[in-house]
């Protein structure tokens, strides 16, 4: 044995040129370079993916943060009684007959008067051009205000109205003099006037709560579109998902972890759960359309249908998380409970479940967070429809048309007016804030209550 080894060692040693062990041979240099390269690829992959993530978030944040600010015109406005209440008896039923056209005239006249008083004018600009700087949304709002309180007719109020989306875009740098020349919705003169208005303090960009509270608006009024209905719809859906998904998911996990005998039915359940976790989300949308809408007759684009679809999608996530945390409870706890005479059901509900609760809670929050961002199945059940009135309070509101935050993002991205891209990114910011809050909550819960046995 030793001889063989010795002779084996001797042969290559004589063939190799004599060099110091400290000197790097060509082969060693090549191998070391390969080592460095390999490691660099790994670092590059990580840097690349994180940079892409950062780039994506930064583009969306910078596009969207301006949606929270909105250009508004502020001027004193006389609510002329001749136009708004021709009969002069402040009778609401008669005043209803005045359409937004009449209010448009009042707005335009008041705006023009203020411009003349302040001495602001741009050569070659028609009166219509000046009036067109006020959002089409303003007349409707003013009408609602007057009809709610007819007595203000004839007085002069301090009005703050939205400027059009193009003027707003000009203040935010999205619209420039060059683009205005090619744009039929805005003229360069209007932009010059906007500059003067800004200097005079009539036109200001202010924080826009309406973006979070108001419902969606039509294609021509991007400046008035808000997320109110979408946030409410998402909240309704999360509520129903919470109510339906958690009991069912926890019950299923308890059965599978603690009671299920090893038989065909149990195997079938296991296989189904792991498959459902991998089914594309759009398939759940088809299921919702066929079963909940066409078969069960639930109303189209209502939050209950959306929530039921999301429940079925979230169920595997919650079951997997719950089972993991039930499994993490050590068997000694179970043995101790059974040993002092608890029944199996008492052992589970009095001891195992409370100890598994933090894990279940964390899994639930993460499941809800993924359900909150889901879009595709909601498109199929009609939630992309234009909804501009709020659903009523629960439970009746669950059956009324609503929309959801991610669907609103998609809906706005599909509109032709570029102002809606800003709105869409702004909606993503709101969505991401909700997601970050939920994830941070899950992390805090895990840190606070996690128990290592």
């Amino acid at each position: 044995m030793t001889d063989a080894t010795g002779s084996g060692m001797a042969a290559p040693a004589s063939a190799r040129p004599k060099t110091s062990l400290m000197a790097e041979t060509t082969l060693a240099r090549r191998r070391n370079a390969a080592e460095v390269r390999f490691k660099a690829y790994g670092i590059a992959a990580i840097v690349l993916s994180l940079a892409t993530l950062g780039f994506m978030l930064i583009t969306i944040l910078s596009d969207g943060v301006t949606a929270f600010f909105q250009a508004k015109l502020n001027f004193p406005m006389e609510l002329t009684a001749e136009t708004l209440d021709p009969k002069g008896n402040r009778n609401r039923d008669e005043m209803v007959k005045i359409t937004t056209l009449g209010y448009n005239k009042v707005l335009a006249a008041a705006f023009q008067k203020e411009l003349t008083a302040k001495g602001i004018a741009v050569d070659g600009q028609s009166a219509k051009d000046v009036a067109d700087m006020i959002s089409k949304d303003a007349a409707g709002k003013l009408r609602a205000l007057v009809l709610a309180n007819p007595d203000i007719v004839g007085t002069t109020i301090d009005a703050t109205v939205l400027a059009t989306g193009r003027i707003d875009g000009y203040l935010k740098g999205r619209v420039t003099m060059e683009t205005a020349q090619r744009d039929s919705n805005v003229t360069p003169e209007q932009l010059q006037l906007a500059d003067q208005l800004k200097d005079a303090g009539l036109l200001k960009s202010v924080f826009n709560w309406d973006f979070i509270t108001l419902p969606d608006a039509s294609d021509q009024r991007p400046e008035a579109a808000g997320l109110g209905v979408a946030i409410l719809g998402s909240a309704y859906m999360m509520l129903i998902v919470l109510i339906t998904c958690v009991p069912v998911g926890v019950a299923a996990s308890i059965y599978l972890e603690e009671f299920a005998p090893k038989n065909f039915w149990t195997d079938a359940i296991e296989v189904n759960i792991s498959n459902l976790a991998a089914v594309p989300s759009i398939v759940f949308g088809i299921l919702g359309l066929a079963i909940f809408i066409n078969f069960a007759g639930l109303p189209n684009s209502s939050s209950i249908v959306g929530a039921l679809v999301l429940t079925l999608m979230t169920l595997p996530t919650i079951i997997i998380a719950t089972r993991a945390s039930i499994r993490a409870v050590p068997p000694s706890i179970r043995d101790a409970a059974l040993g002092i005479g608890a029944s199996k059901m008492q052992m589970v509900f009095h001891h195992v479940l409370p100890l598994a609760m933090p894990g279940i809670l964390t899994g639930t929050i993460l499941g809800l967070a993924s359900a909150l961002g889901e879009t595709a199945p909601l498109l199929l059940i009609g939630m992309v429809a234009f909804v501009d009135n709020y659903p009523s309070a629960p439970i009746a509101g669950f059956l009324e048309p609503a929309t959801a935050l991610p669907v609103q993002v998609f809906g706005w991205a599909q509109r032709s007016d570029p102002s809606f891209i800003e709105r869409s990114s702004g909606a993503i910011i709101v969505l991401l804030i909700f997601l970050v809050v939920m994830n941070v909550l899950a992390i805090i819960l895990r840190r606070r209550f996690e128990r290592r046995w």
Partner: protein, 486 residues
């Protein structure tokens, strides 16, 4: 009586059951719970369960069966010419329901008395105008048969509601009486209650199976409807996709499969190398603090909703690729393209591949690495020639799962890939996928009797089968690999 009110009554009876049973059993032992078989609260729960379960089961069964019986009776009343085939039956039934609803509204609005509503005849009154006056718009004049059927329908609904209430309340009371009678100190209430809970647990876990059955059933029936209207040979073997809502569409599957596969391929070319190298670095090279920071950061990508990636594709990636690659190279001028969608899906899949591969690389036994390093291999040689081959089946499984996610991805392709069904090799051209067309054919006003709508279900079925097959293969591969080292 409405269902909601009925539920309230049942709930009240259940509470009564809880209290009565508990009191009765405590009274039977003169307030000394030690001589009872179970804790007093179990007797209470037994009472509540005996009220709730049979009554709610009866109610659910009634609500499911009643519409079928009523529809059968109504269809039997109508002349055979009006209900010649399935679709005209549906139309007539919806007419009947609308007229009946109109009569209900008229009665509720005080325009008609209950007697008027059941006696009104088309010969004497114009029903359409009468109903229009209470805000119920009817498309056409009401025929004599439909009005008679609607009146009969109202009678049957009213009768059904009454019978339902009586039946459910009777069953609930019977359950209550039974539970109260049976409650004595030797009765094994706890065992009964635990059995009922176990039943609930089993039912909850069976929902997973029900969901799968629902998915398969709903898609299969509609797919068969589709193939009844459109020849399956054309669907599976035609190379053109040009739906036309006036009829005469060509609905060939292959352009969509090609678009899907092309986009998936691009996404895999992006995600596999990046994900794999990231996983290798994290598993083999990274120090503990680096790992504990970088791994969650990469997983942040997985937590971002896909619609955000969709907007990123639409607003940023698409124009970028168009301005810097497609137009200078003369390959096209479209922002939405296979490249746009593929690259963004690839980014979405990086964390998926990296965390699965990371787990798999970590589960390769350390002894293999030690052996290789002891032979003088460098770290990268060890990884390339020992660790990766050992982990290969698992990594292949992870890649297959990522591919199945890319195939099923919807929002990114809807916003970034375009809508034109084409068989082209140019990656900068807009192409479309199965998921895009499912969304396209099913959103908006859809008519569930036309092949243009129903084709979405056939596409959904195809998608379901492909992703399911990929996932099963991936699971088998991963499981086989796990067994090797466990």
């Amino acid at each position: 009586m409405s269902v909601l009110l009925l539920l309230v009554i049942v709930a009240v009876l259940a509470m009564a059951g809880f209290v009565l049973c508990r009191q009765r059993v405590l009274a039977s032992v003169q307030g000394d719970p030690k001589s009872l078989h179970s804790l007093p609260v179990y007797y209470g729960w037994h009472g509540a369960i005996m009220v709730l379960v049979p009554a709610l089961a009866a109610l659910a069964l009634w609500l499911m069966i009643q519409p079928f019986i009523i529809e059968n009776r109504i269809v039997g009343m109508l002349p055979p010419s009006m209900v010649a085939d399935g679709s005209s039956t549906t139309l007539v039934m919806s007419d009947v329901r609308r007229v009946a609803g109109g009569l209900d509204a008229a009665v509720a609005g005080g325009v008609m008395s209950e007697e008027d509503a059941s006696l009104i005849r088309t010969e004497f009154t114009n029903v359409r105008d009468r109903l229009a006056s209470v805000g119920v718009a009817l498309g056409s004049d009401v025929s004599r048969e439909v009005l008679a059927a609607a009146q009969e329908y109202r009678v049957m609904i009213a009768w059904g509601a009454m019978a339902r209430t009586i039946l459910v309340v009777l069953i609930a009371v019977a359950g209550l009486i039974y539970a109260v009678m049976i409650s004595n100190k030797d009765f094994r209430a706890r065992n009964r209650v635990e059995q009922a809970i176990l039943g609930l647990l089993i039912a909850a876990s069976s929902i997973a199976i029900l969901t799968t059955v629902g998915i398969v059933y709903s898609m299969l029936t509609e797919t068969f409807n589709f193939f009844a209207l459109y020849p399956y040979q054309d669907f599976f073997f035609s190379l053109t996709w040009s739906p036309n809502f006036r009829g005469d569409s060509e609905l060939g599957l292959w352009p969509l499969i090609w678009g899907t596969m092309y986009i998936t391929l691009v996404s895999m070319i992006v995600s596999v190398p990046i994900g794999l190298y990231a996983a290798i670095y994290l598993a083999e090279y990274a120090s503990k603090p680096v790992r504990s920071w970088v791994k969650p950061l990469i997983e942040v990508i997985a937590g971002i909703p896909t619609v955000v990636f969709g907007l990123f594709a639409l607003v940023t990636v698409g124009p970028l690729l168009r301005d810097y690659f497609a137009e200078p190279l003369g390959l096209g001028n479209s922002g939405s393209s296979v490249m746009t969608a593929g690259i963004v899906i690839g980014i979405l899949n990086i964390p998926f591949i990296s965390s699965l591969s990371d787990d798999i690389i970590n589960s390769v036994p350390q002894s293999l690495r030690d052996g290789s390093l002891a032979l003088g291999a460098t770290k990268s040689e060890t990884i390339r020639q020992v660790v990766l081959p050992a982990a290969l089946p698992g990594i292949v499984g992870a890649c297959l799962m990522a591919a199945s996610r890319a195939i099923g991805e919807t929002m990114i392709v809807v916003m970034g890939a375009g809508a034109a069904a084409k068989l082209s090799l140019n990656p900068f051209e807009a192409m479309t996928t199965m998921t895009v067309k499912i969304v396209g054919q099913l959103t908006g006003d859809s008519d569930f009797a036309s092949p243009e709508t129903l084709v979405a279900f056939a596409l959904g079925m195809t998608l379901f089968v492909i992703t399911l097959a990929l996932n099963i293969v991936a699971l088998l591969v991963v499981r086989k690999y796990r067994e090797q080292y466990d």
